[in-house]
Amino acid sequence: MTANVAAPSSERRRRARRRLLGRVLLYLGAALLALWVLAPIYIITVTAFSPRSVVYDYPKHLIPREVSAETMDFFVNSTGVLPSLWRSVQVALVTLALSTLIGAPAGYALARFAFRGRDTFRLAILSTRAFPIVILSIPLAVTFIEWGIYDTIWSVALMHTALALPFTVLITSSIFVSVPRDLEEAALTLGCTPISAFVRVVLPLALPGLAAASIFTFVLSWNEVFAAVILTLRERTLPALILAAITESPAPFRFAAAWFMAAPSLIFIFLIRRYLLGMWGRVSR
């Protein structure tokens, strides 16, 4: 590297040119990576909104010649799709409610109190991630048969809550940490009880973060398939229904199903995009 304070102007120009080139390459790389992510989504969208006959056409056309809801219609009106879709929504909502009600208090305790066993609890919660879903689903299926709730939305929702709960605890704890403690203490000094201080001061400030965490839980449940297919037989959730019939169902059905399952992600991730780093940054530490 040149040690001259006054570099010759040709040298300076060369470095400026190099920096510009670096910038251009960087944007090009960014765009290529974006293309890698978006191209498959574009492809499945075009496929799902082609008429059924065109789905089998070859070669395919990147710019669709005909847009139609026929394939989508065929999928949505196939036997079992609408009920299982409704079940998926119910399971995800129950999971979201249960894991927030059970997990958020623990998250608050981790964020606000110094107590014996805090680190042990944190570690125990973290270590649950080392255990695969596979190992929980099979014994739980046996348990749920004994309890008489096998093949209901409740069995799947309980299982999904067990999966989501560790995340909910860690994520909500990081959200409560980010609410300034001074505000809560000020409310206490001004005569609030701990509960009213929480409801009036902490909750409103934590609400956007909690909403993001809930969306994350919803997505987790919406997408989960192994437990869902093990714990149901007739009362399938949407992914379980599609997986169980994957080798027999016609291609247009599968493509429309894939679009239907994947498209909400565009909205979900958009809604929680500001919280992603905070959630995962803290969870991973």
Partner: protein
């Protein structure tokens, strides 16, 4: 102040989580081992394990699972690191790039498998594009059940597309923890971009890399819907076998043995990463 007055409060807040995890996490875990080490009559036996190890599909499932992990994880890390560097480069609209790269985070294994099936199937998008560009003169059969190499390639592509986002987010969170001074110091000494990545960024990212590696490997051991969606019954992995033994053969004991085996591999790989990448935390604080 609050903590002293309400010494019992944190424990009361933790109680629901602990109870739920005990009931739906710890108990099933113990029960899984009970199932795996008992025969259908409830006697202790190694029958299920013997059945599993001598099953013709077992060896293939194990080899394929390990092969997939060994190929997928480095590919994912390379793409995730590129994405993370782009996001961290403070381009115009940094939030936009992060959002785009994070979209697959909300897409399920099953949906991703079907999307890539649409791409790789014989009358699919990749063949259309390659023929259109004149690279092929007739469709190539990627999903050829006789050719495991190509099957593995398609699964690797689908998984690299879907599951890279989570690594990217953990890496971005890690990158943001690297003090700017370090990179500026490297600039002063005239380090090139690649020298900075190798000498400064990667060593500093070590804790994030470790977390991401552990998390991704555990999840990769459970992947099966993507394999099923792409290859049908053409290829099998350990989690598919657990599903098959439970659903097709109605044998929860052998299924539990498979689940226990997956758990064992997950724990071993976690220990391996902890040993390979020791993080000296004090160095970074």
């Amino acid at each position: 102040m609050t903590a002293r007055r309400l010494g019992w409060a944190p424990y009361a807040l933790l109680l629901p989580s602990l109870a739920f995890l005990a009931l739906f996490f710890a108990v099933p875990m113990v029960r899984a081992f009970g199932l795996a080490f008992q025969d259908a009559d409830g006697n202790w036996s190694l029958e299920s394990w013997r059945t599993m190890f001598s099953d013709t599909e077992f060896r293939e499932a194990l080899v394929t699972t390990l092969l997939l992990i060994v190929i997928i994880i480095p590919v994912q890390f390379a793409i995730a690191l590129a994405m993370a560097l782009v996001v961290n480069a403070r381009l115009k609209g940094a939030g936009f790039w992060l959002y785009i790269y994070a979209i697959p985070l909300g897409i399920s294994e099953l949906a991703a498998g079907i999307i890539w099936f649409a791409i790789f199937t014989q009358q699919g998008w990749l063949n259309s594009i390659l023929e259109g560009l004149g690279i092929l003169d007739r469709p190539f059969i990627f999903l050829n059940y006789q050719n495991r190499g190509w099957l593995i390639f398609t699964v690797v592509m689908a998984e690299a597309w879907r599951a890279t986002s989570i690594i990217m987010i953990i890496l971005v969170a890690g990158l943001q923890g690297i003090p700017r001074d370090y990179l500026e110091a490297a600039d002063v000494f005239g380090a090139t971009f690649f020298q900075k990545v190798r000498r400064v960024i990667l060593p500093m990212l070590r804790p994030s890399v470790q977390v991401a590696l552990i998390l991704r490997t555990i999840l990769a051991f459970q992947a099966f819907a993507v394999v099923l969606a792409l290859t049908g019954r053409g290829m099998t992995v350990l989690a598919s076998e657990a599903y098959r033994w439970y659903s097709d053969y109605r044998n929860p004991h052998v299924a539990a043995a498979y689940a226990g085996f997956i758990l064992l591999l997950s724990v071993l790989s976690t220990l391996l990463f902890l040993w390979l990448l020791p993080t000296r935390e004090e160095q970074f604080r």
